[in-house]
Symmetry: C2
Subunit: 426 residues, 2 copies
């Protein structure tokens, strides 16, 4: 039985028990929310993760880290190093978005080495295979896509991003008067849209959604219904196509719950700061409270090179209004495949966003963390402050070890004029 | 006459005319807002800045960069290098917060080299002088403080941070049941509070506020009424002491306007994300719409080493609700005097925050910037994207120059699977 099926039958799985304990959410409430689709547990039933990860209402905000090769950089080794960084700096999940090299092997290795839930976008592998086999991904057969879904699920993938809302009808909203500045910016969405256009047929993930559900059910793979029509510019945000797709995703979520399949909804993208709230509330309404997994949102289009900051602003706001899961964005967004350092900086920015919203959500361990830091700060106890910081190594390096300073319990900014010191000993 | 005096007399100064043109705000409205204290022009009447800078309602959000030596690092040279970086990366103003070395000389050099308005916290120099003269800043005579105000104004300082709201009465709210985790965290506030406690007398900047106004009036120095009791922890935010001080600052602002002195109000500090709005609205109400200059706010206490990100989140939100001026925060906050690289990263984070809020404020050049970037992105024109980014040098380095990529107009993230390329040529 899947977690949602167990929950509907009021059965407490060991995953639920562990999550209830760790997150401090009453087990009965947790179970009810899983049954109603408001919380998902990300774990393929072929896997036994060392630390279970749940996403949704009343839980701490989670962050995802994207891994994955590109055609120009097909090195598995580098992606495994990124995985290590993801684990070290506190990611909750990873996604393998590889499109270069031996995709099957890369996926298997990432799953093997990852103690975190692993997500994928199966259309990538299907497209790359078709490209290699037929010379063009446009020649992909729909059965090949379903074979990939089955294979990836059997290999232990914990969640799938499926752009099932990229339908003929929703795509038609992108043309004419609704034309966007940046069109489609989702890689998976664009692959499907091109394929649909070329082959003049409906999105197979939408048309045969029951087949998708059968596979997901058998392995308890959580579906992350992708927003293939998310905005790639603040001027394209909250437009008809985006909202229509969201409505479709809400309908698909209902069908998933009917078949005891867990489901999340993906969200934008590029959104002006003051429109984020509306986006989150709309998702919660149209998708009946399904967990909301946002990519950003980036609050401006001009922050290339620093999009982890633009995304931290948007992510913190989105999560403070109820988004449950943040996909990290690195400084390399819009420019290149991220380096190891980019991945680290992206994770930390995303954790700051998630954590700031957890303070608003009044998640107890989050509040406790800030309280301990503030107490240490009030005592001018830099050792504890460094220990409690997101990257103690960096903090230690910054604070330095000048004997005078640590002896006097001040930092090199204010020295003897440290406000807290003055207040203690005027 | 000061700018506010001219405005009250419905006279348009050349500063007003230039600002009206650059900011696209109707001259009559600009002048009215200056008269009512809702906009300030930061310029000592002894200076003639190459580019005038105004702060307040309907204008783009400005950012300030702190410079200044510490006792351990008294190098003027390094601070002048920081000034260069501030200019290069788009700061609107700088503040000289030096407490180490030859303070007078440092200030004069910064003023001489800075094409941007220069602010100071005069109590620092008064305290350091007293420390050097008497062995303790607690022995400072109030006349020495006023001498410094006069001297700094005569030297051309454009705005003063004065913690005039740190009164005996407001300080009393910090004790007993209202005890904070981090007490006073404002350096100027703590110096004054210690001095007041030791000398058992009221804050001279409050008690003799009319003398302050006389000096400010003569040189048209804008007063930035400092929040000496700002919270240093999210748990201390919006408490009685902070709000009482804000009320005092509102009353002082009225007195300043009465004497034709321009005034801004400073704000926190550390504030939980969902309480920022309340803070901004309270300032606008209690201080009759005086420009709000915030330090952060940091939305969590635990981001040491990355507080520029925590601050960008809070600053973007504050400014989107009406804060007018953001003081940058660097990654070194709480840990050390910032390095040149820290200053650069702090400025860029702060600019992202200011710019994202300008999109909400519908500042036309800000919207235009995002529009141009999105159009370039939609055309996969990386040269223009790089040119329009905050740090083109970094973007160029990231994008790289691999011939294949720029020839194909894609980046190394998606390569041939670039969503925008697929949408163009399915």
């Amino acid at each position: 039985m899947t977690q949602i099926e167990l929950a509907k039958n009021k059965k407490y799985s060991r995953e639920m028990k562990a999550i209830s304990r760790r997150e401090g959410l009453n087990l009965r409430i947790l179970c009810e929310r899983i049954a109603r689709g408001r919380i998902v547990i990300l774990q393929n039933n072929k896997r036994r993760l060392p630390k279970f990860c749940a996403v949704g209402e009343g839980l701490s905000t989670k962050i995802n880290v994207n891994l994955g090769t590109s055609s120009g950089n097909p090195s598995l080794k580098r992606e495994l190093e990124k995985l290590k960084i993801a684990i070290q700096y506190g990611a909750d999940t990873v996604m393998d978005l590889s499109i270069g090299g031996d995709l099957k092997r890369i996926r298997k290795e990432i799953i093997e080495y990852s103690p975190l839930p692993v997500g994928t976008v199966p259309i990538y592998e299907a497209a790359v295979n078709a490209e290699r086999k037929y010379g063009s991904f446009l020649k992909m057969h729909k059965e090949e896509l379903f074979d990939i879904l089955e294979q990836q699920a059997a290999d232990g993938v914990d969640f799938f991003t499926l752009h099932a809302g990229v339908t003929m009808k929703n795509l038609s909203l992108l043309s004419g008067n609704n034309k966007r500045l940046t069109g489609i910016v989702s890689r998976g969405g664009a692959i499907l849209a091109s394929w649909m256009k070329k082959n003049k047929c409906e999105n197979p993930l939408f048309k045969y959604f029951d087949r998708v559900l059968d596979i997901a059910y058998r392995y308890d793979v959580t579906l992350s219904l992708g927003d293939g029509l998310r905005p790639g510019s603040i001027f394209d945000a909250n437009d008809r196509a985006q909202n229509a797709e969201l409505k479709t995703l809400g309908e698909l979520a209902k069908r998933a719950w009917g078949k005891c399949v867990q489901v999340m909804i993906e969200g934008p993208g590029h959104v002006r700061l003051d429109k984020i709230r509306q986006n989150v509330l709309l998702e919660k309404r149209l998708c009946q409270g399904a967990p909301f997994y946002v990519l950003g949102p980036l609050v401006t289009d001009i922050a290339s090179g620093y999009d982890h900051i633009s995304s931290a602003i948007g992510g913190a706001i989105a999560a403070s209004y109820g988004a449950d899961f943040l996909c990290f964005v690195t400084p390399s967004e819009h420019l290149r495949l991220p380096s190891l350092e980019d991945v680290k900086n992206g994770i930390i920015a995303s954790r700051i966003a998630a954590h700031s919203s957890d303070l608003v959500k009044e998640i107890k361990p989050a509040l406790q963390w800030d309280r301990e830091m503030s107490i240490a700060r009030g005592k001018r106890d830099w050792n504890t402050q460094i220990k409690l910081s997101l990257n103690p190594q960096k903090s230690m390096h910054y604070y330095g070890k000048k004997k005078g300073l640590s002896h006097k319990k001040v930092c090199s900014m204010c020295g003897e004029y440290c406000a807290i010191k003055l207040s203690d000993n005027p």
